[in-house]
Symmetry: C2
Subunit: 336 residues, 2 copies
């Protein structure tokens, strides 16, 4: 099998533990990855937490597996996560939500298998904000036709590549007729060029409502940045929570994979962290890098481990916590 080269950013809090666990599982599954480990996050004595060497290594490798970064790291108050997305123009944020075996949720009997394709650089995340008076704040929501078309194209390309049949656009175009309206309009232009894939539109609040009522009825959802932020946490919750939620940030010639959860400083260093989200992110990376069979093998091992239900990390081990395992015990089970 091919060798690939990737940057690893272990990041803050539980990041180093789960990165180590995932690298062990990938190696055991036979993934041949040359890791370049780089510093990022609160440990870096630099506002923003992203040294130039790290940025250079990312630019050169084009493939990144990233642990959680603390949200506020100085640097003008900008989030390091957002900085990475902007700097490398990672305009597409792909967030699958799929039912996992053995994970107890109110929806365990529903066949949930959806993907959120979230626009990742525009909207309220443009960071254009000011105080008009000491008592009035304004923030600019920015939507461009080209940005909206790009994310719609990404959604239809993903649907085609994964053999999915429907893409649902979600917006608040009934209230923000120009900005969210432009997003919807661009989506419809792109949809018209993909007649083989069904498309429809839902108002974002109604989407939140329908996702809770019948998540199994959704396939691909394409939406703006802020809407996607909220909705993707909702869908992560439907299948068991952020501890199980991977994400891909895609740009031109650049792909960064991450767990959606935070750095969980309260449990860091105690061997309690669940590496599943980062593992699932690494499987998305393997598939992106053209190593689907290794991904398949490891996914199978994860599913069997979850289904067995032994030595799961405490977040998954059920209310009694009896039989809970550590990060490394769980990792060993997946490997064996």
């Amino acid at each position: 099998p091919r060798r690939i080269r990737a940057v690893a950013l272990p990041g803050d809090g539980i990041g180093p533990e789960i990165m180590d666990a995932v690298q062990r599982m990938l190696a055991a599954a036979g993934a041949r990855i040359d890791w370049e480990e780089c510093e990022a996050g609160a440990g870096v004595a630099l506002p923003g937490g992203l040294p130039g060497e790290t940025m250079d290594a990312i630019a050169s490798a084009g493939l990144v597996l990233k642990g959680p970064l603390q949200t506020s790291l100085g640097g003008g108050g900008k989030s390091a996560n957002v900085t990475l997305r902007k700097h490398f123009e990672l305009f597409a944020n792909i967030r699958p939500a799929r039912r996992l075996p053995g994970v107890v949720t109110p929806y365990a009997d529903r066949d949930i298998d959806l993907v959120i394709v979230r626009e990742n650089v525009e909207d309220l995340y443009a960071g254009i904000e000011h105080m008009q008076t000491p008592d009035v704040a304004q923030c600019l929501k920015l939507i461009s036709r080209s940005g909206s078309r790009k994310i719609a194209e990404a959604a239809f390309a993903l649907a085609r590549a994964q053999g999915r049949s429907r893409v649902t656009c979600a917006s608040k175009a009934n209230i923000m007729k120009l900005s969210e309206g432009l997003f919807k309009e661009a989506f419809e232009e792109v949809a018209a060029a993909h007649p083989a894939i069904q498309s429809d539109h839902m108002i974002i609040d109604n989407l939140a409502h329908r996702l809770v009522l019948s998540p199994e009825s959704f396939d691909v959802i394409c939406t703006t940045n802020m809407n996607g932020d909220i909705i993707s946490d909702l869908t992560a919750g439907l299948v068991g929570g952020l501890g199980l939620a991977p994400s891909a940030n895609l740009g031109a010639g650049m792909a960064l994979f991450e767990a959606v959860h935070g750095s969980a400083p309260d449990i860091a260093g105690q061997g309690l962290a669940n590496p599943t989200a980062l593992l699932l992110a690494s499987l998305m990376m393997l598939r992106q890098a053209g190593l689907p069979s290794v991904a398949e093998r490891l996914e199978h091992a994860l599913y069997v481990t979850l289904e067995d239900g032994k030595e799961l990390t405490p977040d998954l081990a059920g209310p009694t916590g009896i039989d809970a395992g550590s990060t490394s015990a769980f990792t060993d089970r997946v490997i064996s």
Copy 2:
């Protein structure tokens, strides 16, 4: 018992049917209400759908029960719902989500009883939008300290009045540090003045996640307009859907009660509409108007009817639909 005076706006689509049903139930329960029925919605030959006489009647009565209004009624593309909220400065939108007996949901075993207190006039709903170029749209998100303090005060006042112990502020202050940050800051100022009630803060995406995982752990949630729009549809879904979701819009000396759902033109006039959301809204109105015992009686009748599960409207009657009733059959059961 006291007589009260209220404006009824039956509105569009299923509006007249459910308004009629609710007025019958209120009368049967002994509520003495002088209704002034006014025109609003698509039937009105006027852009915006809100005649001057209707606005005058509302201003004079100060108490309104409103059916659904079609979202787009001309009038510069403004939503009639939003126009009413703005014109009468109905700054607080109160949306309870409470488990109902007999309603089958994935959360039927959870004791859900929460209230969303949504800021109702600021934020992205200010309606300040323009096209910067034909391909770039901008929308202004506006947050004021006074508006934020008012809604926080409303949330704590509601918590106190209803004997609730905790108010959670939800914002995206980690990204929009000035605008959502101002909302959070104002909330914390107000919270400090209410030491008897617990308070905390959650990032809005994490709130969406936690609401799906453990809705029973929430009490009062105070949030900005757009966040509240999405989150309140989510919580409506948790307890059975928009067909069961009431809402109060409160301002100074003015209170407007409505169902959260739309006008459902596809089923209008067929006797299929579920009047429960508007009924629950009318119970909020009775309590607001100082008639809690009538509200109690009618609520009890509704709960018994739902629990019996006979002649429920088709949306509640389960997949087979056998035993489903019409709007009027359901109404008669509640009355009897």
